[in-house]
């Protein structure tokens, strides 16, 4: 059964604040082989004008992926996660994520399309810091493959 397009615009409660640790940024950078000193050494990051080590560009996924669970687990949508594949991803950055940031994700359903027996749902996550200032926006398109 196709996803109900009237769910477009539905928003979810903000995620609990995610405290970005210096070691988490280092761990993430190591996992993707990002060796720039600004990801590992606070002094190198301070030389670029940041308070502490900065995260690589795709790090907001740590917040948006968790935030997306609200949509995937929404009983009204009844998404079969075993049929979900990641279709598209976009990030728009106000600034890099910095160790010490407390990030909150606010999730809204941006688009629902059904085509060729498959459903395509795009979520938008607005990521803000403790002061409520924007940090990044993430858009994730999930493809829910049709049965058969």
């Amino acid at each position: 059964m196709p996803l109900d397009p009237s769910a477009v615009g539905r928003s979810y409660p903000p995620t609990p604040p995610y405290l970005v640790g210096r070691e988490k940024i280092r761990e993430f950078a190591k996992a993707i082989g990002a060796t720039d000193p600004a990801h590992h050494d606070p002094e190198a990051a301070q030389a670029l004008g940041y308070a502490d080590v900065i995260a690589p560009p795709t790090f907001p996924t740590v917040v948006s992926f968790a935030s997306n669970n609200a949509v995937v687990d929404d009983p009204d949508l009844a998404i079969d996660y075993s049929r979900v594949v990641h279709g598209d991803q976009r990030f728009q950055y106000t600034r890099p994520i910095v160790a010490g940031d407390e990030l909150v994700g606010r999730q809204v359903i941006a688009e629902i399309i059904s085509r060729g027996g498959h459903d395509f749902i795009t979520t938008r996550t607005d990521i803000t810091d403790a002061a409520g200032e924007p940090v990044a926006v993430a858009w994730s398109k999930l493809v829910i493959r049709g049965e058969g």
Binding site: I32, L48, P56, R95
Partner: protein
Amino acid sequence: MDLPTKKFTVTRADLVRYAGASGDFNPIHWSERFATKVGLPGVIAHGMLTMALVGRAVTDWAGAPDAVLDYSVRFSRPVPVPDDETGTEIEVSAEVKSVTDEGHTVLAITAVCAGEKVLSQARATVRTTRLGK
């Protein structure tokens, strides 16, 4: 202008490390049994790992770790990762597509694995002075 091609290797160990670092523990990225059961050719890389590696190419080209303003990809094909020490290779290339009114550079990016395009419509907007170095 074409930018210098960059190559990245992905092994099973990289997938395990990325799962832990990102919090994405979907078994299609570590269990052959699970991956084949849901119709995949085998264990595949996280799309977000591919996006992260391509992101490294982008920040390298830009010459600054904080240069990326906007970055988007479409995951057009899975990246199967064999259970050996060699893993698989992703080759990343890009061309300068345009320069915005603000002086930002828009890159059109291609990522190829085993002769197949694994990302399509990949774009990054970067704030930069050192492109192509």
